[in-house]
Amino acid sequence: MNTPARPTSLLQGTLDLLILKTLALEEMHGLGISHRIAQITKSTFQVKPGSLFPALHRMEEAGWLASRWGESESNRRAKYYRLTAAGRRQFLAETREWEKISLAMTHALESI
């Protein structure tokens, strides 16, 4: 029995950033976040609940997200997540970091 491989820190950082980006616009529930990420990454990232929920809870405990129970589009109870002020700062910081890394990686790969 193999336990699911732990996401590498790069992938974990990517997921975090995608969630932050998704929530930067508006409050959303879990399924919505999952759909939105698929949509904005043109289905490159299919976030499964097994990764999504731990990420949401970890980020909530870190103080970047806040949650509340609300009503979904189809009038069902759903848990909604939104960015806190700390989450917004984290989003800006991670975006800058990501741009730096992606630039560096692109340079590195082109130089070969």
Binding site: P4, L31, F53, A62, R76
Partner: protein
Amino acid sequence: MPLRHRIFSLCRNLFRRPRVERDLDEEVGAYLEQLTEENAAAGMSRGEARRAALMELGGVTQVKEEVRRVRAGHMMEDFLQDLRFGARALLRRPGFAAAAALALALGIGANTAMFSVAYGILLRPLPYPDAARVALVCMRFSPQNFDFGTMCVADFLDWQAQNHAFEEPSAWSSRRMDLAGAGEPEQVSGSGVTAGFFSTLQVRPVLGRGFLPGADRPGSAAEAVLSESLWRRRFGASPGVLGQTISVNGGAATIVGVMPGAFHFPRASTELWVNVQLNPPARRGPFFLRGVARLKPGVTLEQAQAETNAIGRRIMQENPYYQRLTLPVTSLRESMVGNVRPALLALMGAVGLVLAIAVVNVANLMLARATVREREMALRASLGAGRGRLVRQLLTESVLLAVAGGAAGLALAWGAIRLLRAWNPGNLPLIESVRLDGGALAFTLLISLLTGILFGLAPALHYARADLHGTLKEGGRAGGAGRAGGRTRAALVVAEIALSLMLLAGAGLLLRSLLRLQRVTGGFAARPRAILIVPVSPTDRKYDKAEPTIAYYDQVLERARHVPGVQSAALSDSLPPDNQSDADTFMIQGQTLAPGELNPAVSDALISADFFRTMRVPLLRGRHFTEHDRSDSHPVAMVSDSFARHFLPGRDPIGRYIKQSGPTNDVPYMEVVGVVGDVKYTGLQKDTDAAYYMPYRQNYGRRMFLVVRSSGSAAGLAQALRREIQAIDPGVTLDRASTMETALARAVAQPRFDTMLLALFAGIALLLAAVGIYGVMAWSVARRTHEIGVRMALGAGQASVLVMVIRQSAALALMGIGMGLAGALVLTRWLAALLFGISATDPLTFAAVALGLLGVALVAGFIPAHRATRISPAAALRCE
């Protein structure tokens, strides 16, 4: 603030767990609902939609478990859960838990108790301020080769005058003191000390004062300081004792102070201190002082030793009498406990082995259970528990077990220490500072945790290697992991047998050594139970001279002989096994000694005519002393066999002449009239048997032992003898009478104590090892039921099955014994200091122990083997 958030989350997760869990439940449930609805909206049937949603989710339990893993405090939460689960798992098998905890309790308890004893005696600070800076200074020189030898007044004054390393050289001299005035006369353990003695030890009296500077000058007033115990016993703890006059050894002394109850120096039994007067010495000797002093700040023991060595060389140059003179400097603790250290360290090693065996045994039990629990573990793994999580769970369980064992062990140790302190069978020094304290508690906790992790590792590794999926598929039949587990268990049993053999070898050696020591007779053939000893000490001034003293002892002998039950009565100032009153050198007439050379000091004793007949020491040549060897007759002496062979070889010793002490001693030569068998006066372990004897009537000895031999048990004679002797002079101190049997028992108390403890530990080890072998064999037979059934169905007889199983346990035992013998050969070397009369690698002991252990292993293996022969082939095949 992220930190604030984390703490908040931690608190919420830990304390509002049900709510957090409900929230998670609802969240995942809502997600599932939404997904199902979407799928349905996309055109699936209700059932299909739900199944697809579940597939996408990938298992509700797993998702929730993943979320729990990222939560703050999940480690602690897991731990608490493991703890609850572990406790339930242990309680489900109370027999297993009790057996394992008992084995651990024995191991941990023995370790805690021995740790407390060793710590209290070897390490705990002594009850004197800054005691690490207090050192003893003794004197060793040839021909008087005593390890902690004494110095004379002149040596002490030389040391005091030339000293720079110590703050104030002081000295003491221990002796029995006759105490009279205020009640019946009694003998107490006392010490004559110099003026600086108490200030060196920095002990403050609870009442009055110590000795003032100058109290050791000639002509200073005689003063006495009481111990708290003596003050309570004899003076009713009255503050009015100060200034009171008591009689010490027949002289008057004024009580000036009382020392606190915790002060026991120089001996544990010391109850009275008086000031010695350092009279200007006319010659070197007599030797009776030992030095005690406090190192100056910044001076080390080694520097002090270098200085006393230099002083010793100067004393030697000025006095050709001394040869190879040194002034050994010993720390206070070393002088108190140096002789028990090897035994304590050996016992510490032994309990370490016991614990190792207990750990191996419990690891074995855990492994046996591990095979049973494979299904449970496989189930937990398939429900989402990671491998690390399972290992952690198992370790938590074993640590829980170890802590339970440790708690029980602590109770055992507490009882053992109380017993030991009350009984003190080995006359251990500093036993009063042995107790269970914070250090011991920390030690117990530490070894409990360590042992828990150690024996928990075996089953944990077992699962880590095991293919749990396969197990679940196979329906729980032991697969490859079972076989590997079997090998591990066999290896553990081999280790257990090897460890037990080492312990048994050590115990066997000590036991044989003790038996040899107990066979050492001390040189007399009288039954020890039949010999009664009464120490007699006439203190009055009138006994300062020889004639009245001799006359008094004549009467003592006369009256003692007529007490009913007494077969024979005699006097001696020295007694076997270890009561040497005096050792002195001697001269042989016609012998030429180089200047400064001396014959070695040997035991010299004053005896009455019947001493050897009373003790039944054989007369080898010549005659005994008689009633006619009196002060006005020709001076005579007897010598021991060793003395004759060493110093009077070649010619018949009878008729030769010797005299007491060195060439300058002005005493007449004595004619040797008899040679007797060797008697031990300095301990049963020693072989210093050379001695010469002088009749008490031709010499002056104040203190003597009255020795009587009775027809039956001698203990009953004490009252009557005491009454008779008291009647001659009620002022004479009679110390408590005891039998020779008691004296001999005391002489072997320490070795007997070491042996008993080691034998106890070895016994526990043997029991644990036997249980271990039995467990593995029983388990192996159970596992092979099917195979054995097939064999028997194919015609194998009961005998061949029996042999097959027994051969297996014999193989394990032999492997363990081989390894144990190798280990024992290395380890028993450390016991050498405790052994008497046998070598640390005594082949007989090793062989006996190996055979005994093999026998136990075979018996432990026989029970399951016998069970195997009763397997019914049909039933065995059905059970498949």
